[in-house]
């Protein structure tokens, strides 16, 4: 998620439109009727299904408290747990690598592949690999990486980025997917039949799985106690990618740790139910070692790449650190009134929606994230559903503050980038007006008599009035009305 990758991603998935900030892109998205219909339908369904999974509010409250505490404990002990994970994994035969930047992580993966003569790779779904733009990097070095999750496969065919962290092609309907398949899959006719489309993907992917020299996956939870990588999924492509090829490389953010195996069941009770409203995913795949002597399948080598990419910087600030509790369920975006209307691509970032609005500015910097912290009405819906109780709204407000008036915190990159003379002057004027009663009375008096004469096309007003009706000033100010009612101290 460097500035350069952001720039290259920008026009790739916004079609012909080149808009540089969220507000501009949101206007485009709001006028895209099929896109809005696709998201509305999907978000409504996901919210209903999640609610049905948590019928008892008290049970849910206990479970969320447990989930939040598990992640809080893991973060409090992060350095020692990372060392414990490394020790356990190494003892189990998993090779552990450390990467400070996405560039370092990409090079580590490439080196592993080169030393094994890898040409083709199958990938399970991994947000960290999206963060790394790993497919593009490997492609540039002559290694074909095929996404095997159906949704990821579809957007890879379309040359797009995921629009949702759990359901990457949620922005597309079956007509659009049918079209893509008929263009890209040999012998596939156009169809909107979901079973037929799924069968076509199965056919293509089977061959890819069989010929792949290596598999790449993400990690949902890494257990420090046992050195176990826990991966959850419904399709089986994750199991394929981590079992069939002779080499498996897992990539994970350093915050994905938990202390003990006992931490897994409560997190499993939270994640799929929050994400897709399922009681559990079809597969919970726990990997603790490569193939042992005598075993007949599984990769001969397993590598784990631990990625920092700004996480240690975020970690340095106790308030922002809470962001790192995220278990990537996507419930915040499913319940976000902004996300539901503009869709994931409008955020122009690897992580969209509420969690993306706080994660992107922290990882990439406020200078790169531009107006993302403002892409929220602070309605708190995300905070209410977050399974690990991340105070998303508080962190958004903190980031808005940092964007104009940076604190001393080293955790924030690009602070102050959002400062503008016009906004700063407006607030300075506001402050003077409110601190001087005579000036205040004069100002409101002038607006009451002349305010309605200000044309809505006046440049400083236009950003607001372009999409909203200009409010009408009352003929009398509140103070005047109060005096009329007999309050003589008004």
């Amino acid at each position: 998620m460097s500035a350069e990758s952001k720039a290259s991603g920008g026009d790739g998935h916004m079609g012909h439109v080149t808009v540089t900030n969220f507000a501009g892109r949101a206007h485009v998205a709001l006028n895209d009727k099929p896109l809005r219909a696709n998201f509305r339908r999907a978000m409504d369904g996901l919210m209903t299904k999640r609610a049905a999974q948590f019928p008892d509010a008290a049970d849910l409250a206990r479970l969320r408290a447990r989930g939040a505490a598990i992640k809080e404990r893991a973060l409090a002990r992060l350095p020692e747990l990372l060392e414990q994970l490394e020790t356990r994994c190494t003892a189990n035969g998993i090779k552990v690598h450390w990467a400070e930047t996405t560039g370092d992580a990409n090079r580590i993966v490439l080196d592993i592949f080169r030393s094994h003569g890898v040409r083709t790779v199958v990938k399970g779904k991994s947000m960290v690999s999206e963060e790394m733009h790993l497919n593009a990097f490997l492609g540039e070095h002559g290694i074909e990486a095929v996404e095997s999750d159906l949704g990821e496969y579809i957007i890879q065919l379309a040359g797009e980025m995921p629009s949702h962290i759990v359901m990457p092609c949620i922005h597309k309907n079956k007509g659009q997917i049918g079209q893509l398949f008929s263009e890209h899959i040999e012998g596939q006719r156009y169809t909107e039949d979901v079973d037929e489309l799924t069968a076509a993907a199965r056919r293509v992917m089977r061959a890819k799985f069989a010929e792949a020299d290596a598999g790449i996956s993400g990690v949902n939870f890494a257990v420090a106690e046992t050195g176990t990588l826990v991966l959850i999924e419904n399709e089986g492509n994750g199991r394929m990618s981590t079992t069939l090829p002779p080499l498996h490389v897992a990539v994970m953010g350093i915050e994905k740790l938990v202390e003990t195996l006992d931490d897994i069941p409560p997190l499993l009770a939270l994640l799929p139910r929050s994400a897709t409203g399922q009681p559990i995913t079809t597969y919970v795949n726990m990997i603790t070692s490569p193939r042992k002597p005598g075993e007949k399948d599984g990769p001969q080598e397993v590598h784990l790449v631990l990625l920092d990419n700004g996480r240690t910087r975020v970690y340095a600030d106790l308030e922002l650190r809470e962001t790192l509790r995220c278990i990537r369920c996507g419930a915040c975006m499913n319940h976000c009134p902004v996300y539901a209307r503009v869709g994931g691509h409008t955020y122009d970032a690897v992580y969209p929606g509420p969690i993306g609005k706080i994660l992107t500015p922290q990882i990439a910097g406020l200078d790169v994230a531009e107006d993302l912290p403002h892409a929220s009405s602070l309605c708190n819906a995300c905070v209410e559903v977050c399974p690990v109780k991340i105070p998303i709204a508080d962190i958004l407000v903190r980031l808005r503050r940092e964007a104009v008036r940076p604190s001393a915190s080293q955790a924030v990159k690009g602070g102050g980038h959002g400062w503008t003379l016009s906004e700063a002057s407006a607030w300075a004027g506001w402050k003077i007006l409110n601190a001087h009663p005579a000036l205040y009375r004069m100002g409101t008096g002038v607006l009451a008599t002349l305010g309605n004469l200000i044309p809505s096309s006046l440049p400083p007003l236009k950003a607001w009035t372009g999409v909203r009706a200009k409010p009408k000033f009352a003929r009398k100010t509140l103070h005047q009305l109060a005096r009329d009612k007999g309050f003589d101290d008004a």
């Binding site: 799985f209 069939l244 006992d262 897994i264 079809t282």
Partner: protein, 222 residues
């Protein structure tokens, strides 16, 4: 110059400490013994898996019918497992029975058959979970990992009294933390996806069908 590992860890250690909260109480659900199997069955059936009651002696005959109905011609089983012996004994001399294929060599030598040709695979489940309708597969050298993944139909045999209430309960009772194998998989249905318009489709990569055979202790008496 210190390496990435040292730098990452030292940055984390330099950060201000945060409190270590106690884990608040949370208990996984508990079911009445009589309701356990019902829950197991209902949850699986909601996920489009089939659950059949069988007894320890005659399940191969029952399986035979289930496979015939699906036109299964080849069945993959573990090499030298009790399952294999029982199947061979029950189906011997039966020309119409599905051909039994043993997973008796490394995947590299069996890949083509596994990926493209085998119709069904049968494995033991080391336990069942009532809460979520799940079976636990604990693959071994004898019953490797891909048996339950590559064939379009997966049959799992599970003994009634290994069905526990929850994964949390099972992990503690069986002491998993001290003996994690190469791989353990909790399976709760056939392979599925809802990536296209939230519409469920089965068998996207793994098995299209999951058949659970529950070996009941007192099927005939009960």
């Amino acid at each position: 110059m210190p390496d990435a590992r040292t730098r990452i860890l030292s940055r984390l250690r330099a950060a201000p400490p945060s409190p270590l909260p106690d884990l608040p109480d949370w208990t996984a659900p508990v079911y009445e013994p009589a309701a356990r199997l019902d829950r197991f069955r209902a949850m699986f059936e909601a996920m489009k898996a089939e659950v059949h009651d069988v007894d320890a002696a005659t399940w191969p005959q029952r399986l035979r019918t289930l496979l015939d109905n699906r036109g299964v011609r080849t069945l993959l089983h573990g090499d030298g497992s009790p399952v294999a012996a029982q199947l061979a004994a029950a189906w011997s001399g039966d020309d119409q029975a599905p051909a039994l294929v043993a997973y008796d060599r490394a995947v590299e030598d069996l890949k083509d058959d596994l990926v493209h040709r085998i119709d069904a695979g049968i494995t033991w489940a080391s336990a069942g979970i009532a809460e979520t309708g799940s079976v636990v597969l604990w693959p071994t050298a004898r019953e490797p990992r891909l048996m339950s993944l590559l064939p379009p139909i997966h049959i799992a045999l599970v003994e009634e009294d290994t069905i526990h209430d929850t994964l949390a309960d099972l992990m503690v009772r069986q002491g998993w933390a001290l003996r994690m194998p190469t791989n353990v998989v909790v399976v709760s249905g056939p392979s599925k996806t809802a990536d296209i318009e939230q519409t469920l489709a089965f068998g996207v990569h793994g098995p299209k069908e999951l058949i659970i055979l529950v070996i009941r202790k007192q099927l005939n008496a009960g």
